[in-house]
Point group: C2
Chain length 188, copies 2
């Protein structure tokens, strides 16, 4: 395993570049995973995120019931899995298995995570009924975060020296993604 903890105050960097994520949750012993393009950092400290979860999704009542969810940032090599998990109305347990993916748990957190992703953020739901009902908008406080040290070290992504399979994904529509591209550093 290549996972290393990421300090909470740096966890926004895991999604700051706008990658597509998968959202996972568990309630009453039922686990599920769905893909989501509309996840975003909301605050540095406390670390918070937003994610849009449609009322039709199988995962939404798991989040509302348990008060927890995780965002995971898939690698480009997982693009097929991300598309399969895009069938968000369904209980995707069989599809996860078919795709050769496995769920796992980090010690102390009863939120399922998809093995082999670039980064993970386990979140506590901050209930905001109006946002959830009117906008399908969920707010989470990040409780813990981890990233794959092959691509994220010392608080920064390092994509320039890895194979394309270890880049992250940026979804557009219709099965089309862009991989994370070249680094560019600009003096402030």
């Amino acid at each position: 395993m290549f996972l290393q903890p990421v300090p909470l105050e740096k966890s926004f960097r895991l999604i700051n570049h706008g990658p597509t994520v998968m959202v996972s949750a568990k309630h009453g012993g039922v686990e599920n995973v769905m893909s989501a393009s509309w996840a975003c950092a909301l605050d540095f400290s406390p670390a918070r995120v937003t994610v849009v979860i449609d009322k039709s999704t199988f995962t939404r009542p798991l989040i509302e019931g348990s008060g927890q969810f995780a965002l995971q940032v898939p690698f480009a090599s997982q693009a097929q899995l991300v598309m399969a998990m895009g069938e968000s109305r369904k209980h995707n347990q069989e599809k996860i298995h078919q795709a050769g993916a496995k769920l796992f748990y980090q010690d102390g957190f009863d939120v399922p995570l998809v093995q082999g992703c670039a980064a993970y953020l386990v979140c506590r739901l901050l209930p905001e009924p109006h946002n959830q009902q009117a906008y399908d908008l969920f707010i989470g406080e990040v409780l813990a975060a981890w990233a794959d040290e092959r691509v994220f070290r010392q608080g920064h992504w390092h994509f320039d020296d890895v194979d394309d399979s270890l880049k992250t994904l940026h979804y557009v529509a219709g099965g089309q993604f862009y991989l994370t591209g070249k680094s560019r550093v600009v003096a402030p």
Copy 2:
């Protein structure tokens, strides 16, 4: 000019891949522009977006006062300007000028736009005082959108055949961006 209108129901695709944006607004004759990493699509129809705007920013009262703002998706060639506009507490008029950038207006919309960006979304603020106060979270309904036809045509980005300067930007931290990378299409 290369700008072409983008149908509202396709406008989410302009930011779905998670690019860094610049936020612009005008109130009482005062124009400003600031950079923001935390902008995200919220709904397809009506097309809506979220954007996080700190209380310390110069632009926030312009949005609250006018009830309008724009998101623009800069090209990689504008990375230096994006960093300069990151000084969000300031009235950045002089910096825009120094950077050789110009503001312009589209017919019918009194919201300033930064010339030479890849895409634009002009939005009406949907006032949500609790979100704005507690989370610095602003919700906008997209009123009109445009994109540069060199990179966005028929509802899709076309980055694979353009120079790096015409890619979009994904900010991490400390002046470091990633350019939008290679396209990958996965059958659903």
